[in-house]
Symmetry: C2
Subunit: 283 residues, 2 copies
Protein backbone atom coordinates (compact mmCIF):
# COMPACT_ATOMS: atom_id res chain seq x y z
CA UNK A 1 0.00 0.00 0.00
CA UNK A 2 1.25 3.47 -0.83
CA UNK A 3 -0.05 6.81 0.25
CA UNK A 4 0.28 10.32 -1.14
CA UNK A 5 -1.54 13.17 0.57
CA UNK A 6 -1.92 16.73 -0.70
CA UNK A 7 -3.85 19.80 0.24
CA UNK A 8 -6.88 20.36 -2.00
CA UNK A 9 -6.14 23.23 -4.43
CA UNK A 10 -8.52 26.14 -3.85
CA UNK A 11 -8.08 27.37 -7.41
CA UNK A 12 -10.89 25.48 -9.09
CA UNK A 13 -11.90 21.99 -10.10
CA UNK A 14 -9.46 21.58 -13.00
CA UNK A 15 -6.54 22.08 -10.65
CA UNK A 16 -8.11 19.56 -8.27
CA UNK A 17 -8.28 16.97 -11.06
CA UNK A 18 -4.65 17.68 -11.98
CA UNK A 19 -3.56 17.34 -8.34
CA UNK A 20 -5.40 14.03 -7.91
CA UNK A 21 -3.80 12.69 -11.09
CA UNK A 22 -0.32 13.68 -9.89
CA UNK A 23 -1.00 12.29 -6.45
CA UNK A 24 -2.13 8.96 -7.88
CA UNK A 25 0.98 8.69 -10.05
CA UNK A 26 3.20 9.55 -7.05
CA UNK A 27 1.54 6.86 -4.96
CA UNK A 28 1.94 4.33 -7.77
CA UNK A 29 5.62 5.30 -8.12
CA UNK A 30 6.19 4.37 -4.46
CA UNK A 31 5.11 0.78 -5.16
CA UNK A 32 6.83 0.85 -8.57
CA UNK A 33 3.57 0.46 -10.48
CA UNK A 34 1.88 2.35 -13.29
CA UNK A 35 -1.69 3.30 -14.14
CA UNK A 36 -1.69 0.58 -16.80
CA UNK A 37 -1.58 -2.07 -14.07
CA UNK A 38 -4.71 -0.76 -12.33
CA UNK A 39 -8.07 -2.54 -12.68
CA UNK A 40 -9.95 0.45 -11.35
CA UNK A 41 -9.82 3.58 -9.26
CA UNK A 42 -12.10 4.55 -6.37
CA UNK A 43 -12.71 8.25 -5.97
CA UNK A 44 -14.34 9.56 -2.83
CA UNK A 45 -16.04 12.91 -3.40
CA UNK A 46 -18.08 15.26 -1.24
CA UNK A 47 -21.60 16.53 -1.58
CA UNK A 48 -24.56 15.67 -3.78
CA UNK A 49 -23.28 13.84 -6.84
CA UNK A 50 -24.27 11.45 -9.59
CA UNK A 51 -22.28 8.28 -8.91
CA UNK A 52 -23.18 6.71 -12.25
CA UNK A 53 -22.10 9.67 -14.39
CA UNK A 54 -19.36 10.79 -12.02
CA UNK A 55 -20.69 14.35 -11.72
CA UNK A 56 -20.34 16.35 -8.49
CA UNK A 57 -23.43 18.59 -8.23
CA UNK A 58 -22.57 20.77 -5.25
CA UNK A 59 -19.60 20.75 -2.91
CA UNK A 60 -20.10 23.76 -0.63
CA UNK A 61 -16.60 23.47 0.83
CA UNK A 62 -14.81 23.29 -2.55
CA UNK A 63 -14.83 26.36 -4.81
CA UNK A 64 -16.06 25.79 -8.36
CA UNK A 65 -17.54 22.32 -7.87
CA UNK A 66 -20.94 22.92 -9.45
CA UNK A 67 -22.14 20.09 -11.70
CA UNK A 68 -18.51 19.25 -12.33
CA UNK A 69 -17.68 15.98 -14.20
CA UNK A 70 -14.99 14.82 -11.77
CA UNK A 71 -15.20 11.15 -12.81
CA UNK A 72 -14.72 11.80 -16.56
CA UNK A 73 -12.03 14.37 -15.71
CA UNK A 74 -10.07 11.80 -13.73
CA UNK A 75 -10.57 9.19 -16.45
CA UNK A 76 -8.88 11.62 -18.87
CA UNK A 77 -6.14 12.60 -16.43
CA UNK A 78 -5.26 8.96 -15.70
CA UNK A 79 -6.07 7.42 -19.07
CA UNK A 80 -8.24 4.79 -17.35
CA UNK A 81 -11.95 4.18 -17.83
CA UNK A 82 -12.83 2.33 -14.62
CA UNK A 83 -13.16 5.33 -12.28
CA UNK A 84 -15.64 4.57 -9.50
CA UNK A 85 -16.77 7.85 -8.01
CA UNK A 86 -19.17 8.08 -5.12
CA UNK A 87 -19.90 10.14 -2.04
CA UNK A 88 -17.18 9.80 0.58
CA UNK A 89 -19.74 8.64 3.13
CA UNK A 90 -21.18 6.00 0.79
CA UNK A 91 -17.69 4.57 0.33
CA UNK A 92 -17.10 4.65 4.07
CA UNK A 93 -20.42 2.83 4.61
CA UNK A 94 -19.53 0.20 2.01
CA UNK A 95 -16.11 -0.20 3.64
CA UNK A 96 -17.62 -0.57 7.12
CA UNK A 97 -20.20 -3.04 5.77
CA UNK A 98 -17.65 -5.22 3.97
CA UNK A 99 -14.71 -5.04 6.35
CA UNK A 100 -15.59 -2.93 9.38
CA UNK A 101 -18.07 -2.36 12.18
CA UNK A 102 -21.21 -2.98 10.12
CA UNK A 103 -20.39 -6.48 8.85
CA UNK A 104 -23.62 -8.47 8.66
CA UNK A 105 -25.86 -5.50 9.51
CA UNK A 106 -28.88 -5.09 7.23
CA UNK A 107 -30.02 -1.87 8.89
CA UNK A 108 -27.29 0.59 9.69
CA UNK A 109 -26.41 4.24 9.32
CA UNK A 110 -22.89 5.48 8.83
CA UNK A 111 -22.24 8.99 10.11
CA UNK A 112 -19.04 10.96 9.85
CA UNK A 113 -18.45 13.85 12.25
CA UNK A 114 -15.46 15.71 10.92
CA UNK A 115 -14.98 19.10 9.21
CA UNK A 116 -18.52 18.53 8.01
CA UNK A 117 -21.17 15.94 8.88
CA UNK A 118 -22.42 13.40 6.39
CA UNK A 119 -23.68 9.87 6.24
CA UNK A 120 -25.21 6.96 4.39
CA UNK A 121 -28.26 4.86 5.22
CA UNK A 122 -28.60 1.12 4.67
CA UNK A 123 -32.10 -0.19 5.33
CA UNK A 124 -33.29 -3.73 4.73
CA UNK A 125 -29.88 -4.56 3.25
CA UNK A 126 -29.95 -1.82 0.61
CA UNK A 127 -28.22 1.52 0.48
CA UNK A 128 -30.72 4.34 0.09
CA UNK A 129 -30.09 6.58 -2.90
CA UNK A 130 -33.32 8.52 -3.27
CA UNK A 131 -34.50 10.42 -6.32
CA UNK A 132 -31.52 12.80 -6.38
CA UNK A 133 -28.96 10.47 -4.80
CA UNK A 134 -28.63 12.64 -1.69
CA UNK A 135 -30.15 10.02 0.61
CA UNK A 136 -27.97 9.67 3.68
CA UNK A 137 -26.99 13.35 3.88
CA UNK A 138 -28.01 13.40 7.53
CA UNK A 139 -25.71 16.34 8.31
CA UNK A 140 -28.18 18.61 6.56
CA UNK A 141 -31.20 17.54 8.56
CA UNK A 142 -32.28 20.70 10.40
CA UNK A 143 -32.57 19.95 14.12
CA UNK A 144 -32.95 23.49 15.46
CA UNK A 145 -34.90 26.63 14.59
CA UNK A 146 -31.85 28.85 14.74
CA UNK A 147 -28.13 28.78 14.25
CA UNK A 148 -25.36 29.99 11.97
CA UNK A 149 -25.69 29.79 8.21
CA UNK A 150 -24.58 26.36 6.98
CA UNK A 151 -22.28 25.81 4.01
CA UNK A 152 -25.32 24.46 2.17
CA UNK A 153 -27.11 27.81 2.53
CA UNK A 154 -29.62 26.61 5.12
CA UNK A 155 -29.53 26.89 8.92
CA UNK A 156 -30.28 24.57 11.81
CA UNK A 157 -28.47 21.69 10.01
CA UNK A 158 -26.70 19.30 12.37
CA UNK A 159 -23.54 20.13 10.44
CA UNK A 160 -23.83 23.86 11.13
CA UNK A 161 -24.10 23.16 14.87
CA UNK A 162 -21.85 20.16 15.47
CA UNK A 163 -19.25 19.82 12.70
CA UNK A 164 -15.63 20.69 13.42
CA UNK A 165 -15.55 23.66 11.07
CA UNK A 166 -18.57 25.26 12.69
CA UNK A 167 -17.52 24.52 16.27
CA UNK A 168 -14.23 26.30 15.51
CA UNK A 169 -15.94 29.20 13.72
CA UNK A 170 -18.39 29.75 16.55
CA UNK A 171 -15.44 30.17 18.92
CA UNK A 172 -13.47 32.27 16.46
CA UNK A 173 -10.60 29.83 15.98
CA UNK A 174 -9.38 27.57 13.18
CA UNK A 175 -9.43 24.23 14.95
CA UNK A 176 -12.27 22.59 16.87
CA UNK A 177 -9.69 20.97 19.17
CA UNK A 178 -9.07 24.41 20.68
CA UNK A 179 -12.76 24.67 21.57
CA UNK A 180 -12.90 21.21 23.16
CA UNK A 181 -9.78 22.08 25.18
CA UNK A 182 -11.27 25.41 26.28
CA UNK A 183 -14.49 23.69 27.31
CA UNK A 184 -12.44 21.20 29.31
CA UNK A 185 -10.78 24.16 31.02
CA UNK A 186 -14.24 25.48 31.95
CA UNK A 187 -14.46 28.31 29.44
CA UNK A 188 -18.22 28.98 29.53
CA UNK A 189 -18.43 30.15 25.91
CA UNK A 190 -16.69 27.00 24.69
CA UNK A 191 -18.88 24.89 26.93
CA UNK A 192 -22.05 26.39 25.49
CA UNK A 193 -20.84 25.78 21.92
CA UNK A 194 -20.07 22.14 22.76
CA UNK A 195 -23.37 21.75 24.60
CA UNK A 196 -25.18 23.03 21.52
CA UNK A 197 -23.25 20.58 19.32
CA UNK A 198 -24.20 17.72 21.64
CA UNK A 199 -27.86 18.76 21.57
CA UNK A 200 -27.79 18.77 17.77
CA UNK A 201 -26.20 15.31 17.65
CA UNK A 202 -28.72 14.09 20.23
CA UNK A 203 -31.64 15.33 18.14
CA UNK A 204 -30.20 13.68 15.04
CA UNK A 205 -29.64 10.38 16.83
CA UNK A 206 -33.18 10.30 18.26
CA UNK A 207 -34.68 11.25 14.91
CA UNK A 208 -32.76 8.56 13.05
CA UNK A 209 -33.57 5.92 15.68
CA UNK A 210 -37.29 6.73 15.45
CA UNK A 211 -37.65 7.44 11.72
CA UNK A 212 -35.14 4.98 10.22
CA UNK A 213 -34.66 2.49 13.07
CA UNK A 214 -31.17 1.19 12.36
CA UNK A 215 -29.71 -1.73 14.30
CA UNK A 216 -26.38 0.07 14.24
CA UNK A 217 -25.13 3.63 13.94
CA UNK A 218 -21.46 3.59 12.96
CA UNK A 219 -19.79 6.89 13.73
CA UNK A 220 -16.52 7.92 12.10
CA UNK A 221 -14.68 11.16 11.39
CA UNK A 222 -11.97 13.03 13.23
CA UNK A 223 -14.22 14.77 15.75
CA UNK A 224 -15.94 11.50 16.68
CA UNK A 225 -12.59 9.76 16.92
CA UNK A 226 -11.02 12.37 19.23
CA UNK A 227 -14.11 13.31 21.21
CA UNK A 228 -16.32 10.23 21.67
CA UNK A 229 -17.49 11.66 25.00
CA UNK A 230 -18.90 14.69 23.16
CA UNK A 231 -20.27 12.78 20.15
CA UNK A 232 -21.10 9.07 20.53
CA UNK A 233 -21.94 9.43 24.24
CA UNK A 234 -24.53 12.22 23.94
CA UNK A 235 -26.04 10.38 20.95
CA UNK A 236 -26.40 7.23 23.08
CA UNK A 237 -27.77 9.24 25.99
CA UNK A 238 -30.35 11.04 23.86
CA UNK A 239 -31.59 7.80 22.32
CA UNK A 240 -31.86 6.11 25.74
CA UNK A 241 -33.77 9.09 27.17
CA UNK A 242 -35.95 10.18 24.27
CA UNK A 243 -36.37 7.63 21.44
CA UNK A 244 -39.18 5.08 21.15
CA UNK A 245 -38.36 2.25 23.55
CA UNK A 246 -38.40 -0.42 20.85
CA UNK A 247 -36.21 1.66 18.54
CA UNK A 248 -33.77 2.46 21.37
CA UNK A 249 -33.56 -1.21 22.36
CA UNK A 250 -32.81 -2.20 18.76
CA UNK A 251 -29.91 0.19 18.10
CA UNK A 252 -26.25 0.35 19.11
CA UNK A 253 -23.89 3.26 18.44
CA UNK A 254 -20.33 2.18 17.70
CA UNK A 255 -17.17 3.83 16.40
CA UNK A 256 -16.11 3.22 12.80
CA UNK A 257 -13.73 0.26 12.66
CA UNK A 258 -11.71 1.46 9.69
CA UNK A 259 -10.61 4.48 11.69
CA UNK A 260 -9.17 7.63 10.20
CA UNK A 261 -8.49 5.93 6.86
CA UNK A 262 -12.13 4.92 6.37
CA UNK A 263 -12.46 7.30 3.39
CA UNK A 264 -9.45 5.86 1.60
CA UNK A 265 -10.03 2.23 2.58
CA UNK A 266 -13.71 2.65 1.75
CA UNK A 267 -12.84 3.84 -1.75
CA UNK A 268 -10.53 0.86 -2.30
CA UNK A 269 -13.11 -1.64 -1.04
CA UNK A 270 -15.85 0.13 -3.02
CA UNK A 271 -13.86 -0.08 -6.28
CA UNK A 272 -13.09 -3.76 -5.59
CA UNK A 273 -16.75 -4.60 -4.91
CA UNK A 274 -17.89 -2.82 -8.08
CA UNK A 275 -15.23 -4.53 -10.19
CA UNK A 276 -16.29 -7.88 -8.69
CA UNK A 277 -19.98 -7.24 -9.39
CA UNK A 278 -20.86 -7.40 -5.69
CA UNK A 279 -22.40 -3.94 -5.84
CA UNK A 280 -26.09 -4.64 -6.30
CA UNK A 281 -26.99 -3.57 -2.76
CA UNK A 282 -25.35 -0.17 -3.04
CA UNK A 283 -25.63 0.68 -6.74
CA UNK B 1 -69.26 -0.37 1.10
CA UNK B 2 -70.47 0.08 4.66
CA UNK B 3 -69.14 2.27 7.41
CA UNK B 4 -69.46 2.19 11.18
CA UNK B 5 -67.61 4.77 13.25
CA UNK B 6 -67.21 4.79 17.02
CA UNK B 7 -65.24 6.74 19.56
CA UNK B 8 -62.24 4.81 20.87
CA UNK B 9 -62.99 3.53 24.41
CA UNK B 10 -60.56 5.09 26.91
CA UNK B 11 -61.05 2.17 29.32
CA UNK B 12 -58.26 -0.06 28.13
CA UNK B 13 -57.28 -2.25 25.20
CA UNK B 14 -59.74 -5.11 25.84
CA UNK B 15 -62.64 -2.69 25.49
CA UNK B 16 -61.07 -1.36 22.30
CA UNK B 17 -60.93 -4.88 20.85
CA UNK B 18 -64.56 -5.47 21.84
CA UNK B 19 -65.62 -2.18 20.26
CA UNK B 20 -63.81 -2.93 17.00
CA UNK B 21 -65.44 -6.37 16.87
CA UNK B 22 -68.91 -4.87 17.40
CA UNK B 23 -68.22 -2.12 14.88
CA UNK B 24 -67.11 -4.66 12.25
CA UNK B 25 -70.26 -6.74 12.77
CA UNK B 26 -72.44 -3.61 12.53
CA UNK B 27 -70.78 -2.60 9.28
CA UNK B 28 -71.23 -6.12 7.90
CA UNK B 29 -74.90 -6.07 8.91
CA UNK B 30 -75.45 -2.95 6.79
CA UNK B 31 -74.39 -4.87 3.67
CA UNK B 32 -76.15 -8.02 4.91
CA UNK B 33 -72.92 -9.99 5.21
CA UNK B 34 -71.23 -11.97 7.96
CA UNK B 35 -67.64 -12.46 9.14
CA UNK B 36 -67.67 -15.92 7.51
CA UNK B 37 -67.78 -14.27 4.08
CA UNK B 38 -64.63 -12.22 4.69
CA UNK B 39 -61.28 -13.21 3.16
CA UNK B 40 -59.36 -10.94 5.46
CA UNK B 41 -59.46 -7.89 7.67
CA UNK B 42 -57.17 -4.87 7.56
CA UNK B 43 -56.54 -3.22 10.90
CA UNK B 44 -54.87 0.18 11.01
CA UNK B 45 -53.15 0.81 14.33
CA UNK B 46 -51.07 3.64 15.77
CA UNK B 47 -47.55 3.74 17.07
CA UNK B 48 -44.61 1.35 17.03
CA UNK B 49 -45.92 -2.15 16.39
CA UNK B 50 -44.97 -5.58 15.10
CA UNK B 51 -46.98 -6.03 11.90
CA UNK B 52 -46.10 -9.70 11.61
CA UNK B 53 -47.17 -10.68 15.13
CA UNK B 54 -49.91 -8.05 15.36
CA UNK B 55 -48.53 -6.51 18.57
CA UNK B 56 -48.85 -2.79 19.32
CA UNK B 57 -45.75 -1.79 21.32
CA UNK B 58 -46.60 1.76 22.32
CA UNK B 59 -49.54 3.98 21.48
CA UNK B 60 -49.01 7.16 23.50
CA UNK B 61 -52.49 8.47 22.75
CA UNK B 62 -54.30 5.24 23.76
CA UNK B 63 -54.29 4.20 27.45
CA UNK B 64 -53.08 0.67 28.13
CA UNK B 65 -51.63 -0.11 24.72
CA UNK B 66 -48.23 -1.40 25.81
CA UNK B 67 -47.04 -4.51 23.95
CA UNK B 68 -50.68 -5.36 23.38
CA UNK B 69 -51.56 -8.25 20.98
CA UNK B 70 -54.23 -6.36 19.05
CA UNK B 71 -54.06 -8.63 16.00
CA UNK B 72 -54.56 -11.90 17.91
CA UNK B 73 -57.25 -10.18 20.03
CA UNK B 74 -59.19 -9.21 16.93
CA UNK B 75 -58.73 -12.67 15.44
CA UNK B 76 -60.40 -14.07 18.58
CA UNK B 77 -63.12 -11.43 18.65
CA UNK B 78 -64.03 -12.00 14.99
CA UNK B 79 -63.25 -15.70 14.70
CA UNK B 80 -61.07 -15.02 11.65
CA UNK B 81 -57.39 -15.72 11.23
CA UNK B 82 -56.50 -13.38 8.37
CA UNK B 83 -56.13 -10.14 10.35
CA UNK B 84 -53.64 -7.82 8.66
CA UNK B 85 -52.49 -5.29 11.21
CA UNK B 86 -50.05 -2.53 10.41
CA UNK B 87 -49.29 1.06 11.24
CA UNK B 88 -52.00 3.43 10.04
CA UNK B 89 -49.42 5.39 8.04
CA UNK B 90 -48.03 2.26 6.38
CA UNK B 91 -51.53 1.37 5.21
CA UNK B 92 -52.09 4.91 3.99
CA UNK B 93 -48.78 4.75 2.08
CA UNK B 94 -49.71 1.40 0.52
CA UNK B 95 -53.12 2.82 -0.39
CA UNK B 96 -51.59 5.93 -1.97
CA UNK B 97 -49.04 3.79 -3.83
CA UNK B 98 -51.61 1.36 -5.22
CA UNK B 99 -54.54 3.69 -5.88
CA UNK B 100 -53.62 7.24 -4.96
CA UNK B 101 -51.13 10.05 -5.40
CA UNK B 102 -48.00 7.88 -5.29
CA UNK B 103 -48.85 5.49 -8.13
CA UNK B 104 -45.64 4.57 -9.93
CA UNK B 105 -43.37 6.39 -7.46
CA UNK B 106 -40.36 4.38 -6.29
CA UNK B 107 -39.19 7.05 -3.86
CA UNK B 108 -41.90 8.68 -1.81
CA UNK B 109 -42.75 9.61 1.73
CA UNK B 110 -46.28 9.61 3.09
CA UNK B 111 -46.89 12.04 5.94
CA UNK B 112 -50.08 12.50 7.90
CA UNK B 113 -50.65 15.76 9.76
CA UNK B 114 -53.63 15.18 11.99
CA UNK B 115 -54.09 14.76 15.77
CA UNK B 116 -50.55 13.41 15.63
CA UNK B 117 -47.93 13.30 12.88
CA UNK B 118 -46.71 10.07 11.35
CA UNK B 119 -45.45 8.69 8.11
CA UNK B 120 -43.97 5.93 6.01
CA UNK B 121 -40.93 5.96 3.74
CA UNK B 122 -40.62 4.14 0.43
CA UNK B 123 -37.11 4.28 -1.05
CA UNK B 124 -35.97 2.47 -4.17
CA UNK B 125 -39.38 0.81 -4.42
CA UNK B 126 -39.29 -0.69 -0.93
CA UNK B 127 -41.02 0.35 2.26
CA UNK B 128 -38.50 0.95 5.02
CA UNK B 129 -39.13 -1.08 8.17
CA UNK B 130 -35.89 -0.77 10.11
CA UNK B 131 -34.72 -2.98 12.94
CA UNK B 132 -37.68 -2.17 15.21
CA UNK B 133 -40.25 -1.47 12.48
CA UNK B 134 -40.55 2.20 13.44
CA UNK B 135 -39.03 3.43 10.17
CA UNK B 136 -41.20 6.20 8.78
CA UNK B 137 -42.15 7.67 12.18
CA UNK B 138 -41.11 11.10 10.95
CA UNK B 139 -43.39 12.87 13.43
CA UNK B 140 -40.93 12.01 16.16
CA UNK B 141 -37.90 13.49 14.45
CA UNK B 142 -36.78 16.31 16.75
CA UNK B 143 -36.46 19.53 14.75
CA UNK B 144 -36.06 22.02 17.60
CA UNK B 145 -34.09 22.29 20.84
CA UNK B 146 -37.12 23.22 22.89
CA UNK B 147 -40.85 22.77 23.02
CA UNK B 148 -43.62 21.07 24.94
CA UNK B 149 -43.32 17.49 26.07
CA UNK B 150 -44.45 15.14 23.29
CA UNK B 151 -46.78 12.17 23.82
CA UNK B 152 -43.75 9.95 23.18
CA UNK B 153 -41.94 11.45 26.18
CA UNK B 154 -39.43 13.44 24.15
CA UNK B 155 -39.48 17.10 23.07
CA UNK B 156 -38.74 18.98 19.90
CA UNK B 157 -40.57 16.32 17.85
CA UNK B 158 -42.35 17.70 14.79
CA UNK B 159 -45.53 16.20 16.25
CA UNK B 160 -45.20 18.15 19.51
CA UNK B 161 -44.92 21.40 17.54
CA UNK B 162 -47.18 20.93 14.53
CA UNK B 163 -49.80 18.24 15.20
CA UNK B 164 -53.42 19.25 15.79
CA UNK B 165 -53.50 18.10 19.39
CA UNK B 166 -50.44 20.15 20.31
CA UNK B 167 -51.48 23.25 18.37
CA UNK B 168 -54.75 23.17 20.30
CA UNK B 169 -53.04 22.50 23.65
CA UNK B 170 -50.57 25.33 23.16
CA UNK B 171 -53.50 27.73 22.73
CA UNK B 172 -55.47 26.16 25.58
CA UNK B 173 -58.36 24.88 23.47
CA UNK B 174 -59.62 21.47 22.33
CA UNK B 175 -59.57 21.97 18.59
CA UNK B 176 -56.73 23.17 16.37
CA UNK B 177 -59.31 24.78 14.05
CA UNK B 178 -59.89 27.40 16.75
CA UNK B 179 -56.20 28.30 16.67
CA UNK B 180 -56.08 28.58 12.88
CA UNK B 181 -59.19 30.81 13.00
CA UNK B 182 -57.66 32.98 15.73
CA UNK B 183 -54.45 33.32 13.73
CA UNK B 184 -56.49 34.34 10.70
CA UNK B 185 -58.14 37.00 12.91
CA UNK B 186 -54.66 38.30 13.79
CA UNK B 187 -54.43 36.93 17.33
CA UNK B 188 -50.67 37.23 17.90
CA UNK B 189 -50.46 34.23 20.26
CA UNK B 190 -52.24 32.00 17.74
CA UNK B 191 -50.05 33.36 14.98
CA UNK B 192 -46.89 32.51 16.86
CA UNK B 193 -48.12 28.95 17.54
CA UNK B 194 -48.91 28.47 13.85
CA UNK B 195 -45.61 30.04 12.83
CA UNK B 196 -43.80 27.59 15.09
CA UNK B 197 -45.75 24.68 13.58
CA UNK B 198 -44.82 25.87 10.08
CA UNK B 199 -41.15 26.13 11.07
CA UNK B 200 -41.23 22.57 12.40
CA UNK B 201 -42.84 21.26 9.21
CA UNK B 202 -40.32 23.23 7.15
CA UNK B 203 -37.40 21.70 9.02
CA UNK B 204 -38.88 18.22 8.57
CA UNK B 205 -39.45 18.75 4.85
CA UNK B 206 -35.91 20.04 4.27
CA UNK B 207 -34.41 17.22 6.31
CA UNK B 208 -36.36 14.56 4.45
CA UNK B 209 -35.56 16.10 1.06
CA UNK B 210 -31.83 16.12 1.88
CA UNK B 211 -31.48 12.88 3.85
CA UNK B 212 -34.02 10.64 2.07
CA UNK B 213 -34.50 12.46 -1.24
CA UNK B 214 -38.01 11.36 -2.21
CA UNK B 215 -39.49 12.17 -5.61
CA UNK B 216 -42.80 12.77 -3.89
CA UNK B 217 -44.02 13.73 -0.44
CA UNK B 218 -47.71 12.83 -0.12
CA UNK B 219 -49.35 14.71 2.72
CA UNK B 220 -52.62 13.57 4.27
CA UNK B 221 -54.42 14.03 7.57
CA UNK B 222 -57.13 16.43 8.69
CA UNK B 223 -54.85 19.39 9.42
CA UNK B 224 -53.15 19.10 6.02
CA UNK B 225 -56.52 18.75 4.33
CA UNK B 226 -58.05 21.83 5.98
CA UNK B 227 -54.95 23.99 6.16
CA UNK B 228 -52.75 23.33 3.10
CA UNK B 229 -51.54 26.94 3.27
CA UNK B 230 -50.12 26.26 6.73
CA UNK B 231 -48.79 22.76 5.99
CA UNK B 232 -47.98 21.82 2.37
CA UNK B 233 -47.11 25.43 1.43
CA UNK B 234 -44.51 26.08 4.13
CA UNK B 235 -43.02 22.64 3.44
CA UNK B 236 -42.68 23.54 -0.24
CA UNK B 237 -41.29 26.95 0.60
CA UNK B 238 -38.70 25.57 3.02
CA UNK B 239 -37.49 22.99 0.51
CA UNK B 240 -37.21 25.60 -2.25
CA UNK B 241 -35.30 27.97 0.03
CA UNK B 242 -33.11 25.61 2.04
CA UNK B 243 -32.72 22.07 0.65
CA UNK B 244 -29.93 20.90 -1.66
CA UNK B 245 -30.76 22.17 -5.15
CA UNK B 246 -30.75 18.69 -6.70
CA UNK B 247 -32.94 17.28 -3.94
CA UNK B 248 -35.35 20.23 -4.17
CA UNK B 249 -35.58 19.87 -7.94
CA UNK B 250 -36.37 16.17 -7.62
CA UNK B 251 -39.26 16.39 -5.13
CA UNK B 252 -42.91 17.43 -5.32
CA UNK B 253 -45.23 17.83 -2.35
CA UNK B 254 -48.81 16.79 -3.08
CA UNK B 255 -51.97 16.17 -1.07
CA UNK B 256 -53.07 12.59 -0.38
CA UNK B 257 -55.46 11.45 -3.11
CA UNK B 258 -57.49 9.09 -0.94
CA UNK B 259 -58.55 12.05 1.18
CA UNK B 260 -59.97 11.76 4.65
CA UNK B 261 -60.67 8.04 4.22
CA UNK B 262 -57.04 7.20 3.46
CA UNK B 263 -56.72 5.25 6.73
CA UNK B 264 -59.75 3.08 6.01
CA UNK B 265 -59.19 2.72 2.26
CA UNK B 266 -55.51 2.07 2.93
CA UNK B 267 -56.38 -0.78 5.28
CA UNK B 268 -58.73 -2.33 2.69
CA UNK B 269 -56.15 -2.04 -0.10
CA UNK B 270 -53.41 -3.30 2.23
CA UNK B 271 -55.41 -6.42 3.17
CA UNK B 272 -56.21 -7.05 -0.49
CA UNK B 273 -52.54 -6.74 -1.53
CA UNK B 274 -51.43 -9.08 1.23
CA UNK B 275 -54.10 -11.64 0.37
CA UNK B 276 -53.06 -11.41 -3.28
CA UNK B 277 -49.37 -11.88 -2.46
CA UNK B 278 -48.48 -8.47 -3.90
CA UNK B 279 -46.90 -7.40 -0.63
CA UNK B 280 -43.23 -8.13 -1.15
CA UNK B 281 -42.30 -4.44 -1.37
CA UNK B 282 -43.93 -3.52 1.91
CA UNK B 283 -43.67 -6.68 3.98
Amino acid sequence: MARDERATPRTGPDDVVRAIGESARSALAIVKASVRELSGVGCSAPGPLDHLLGIVHEAPNMPGFVDFPLGPGLADALGLKAIYLDRDTVMAAVGEAVAGAARGARDFIYITISTGIGGAIVSGGRLLRGAANTAGEVGHFPVAFEGPRCGCGSYGCVESLAAGRFIAEAFGVDDAAVVFAAAEANDPRAQSIIARAEKALGNLAVGLANAISPALIVVGGSIAEHEPGHTLEPMRGAIAARAFKVAAAAVRIVPAALGRDVGMLGAVIYARERLAGRDEWFR
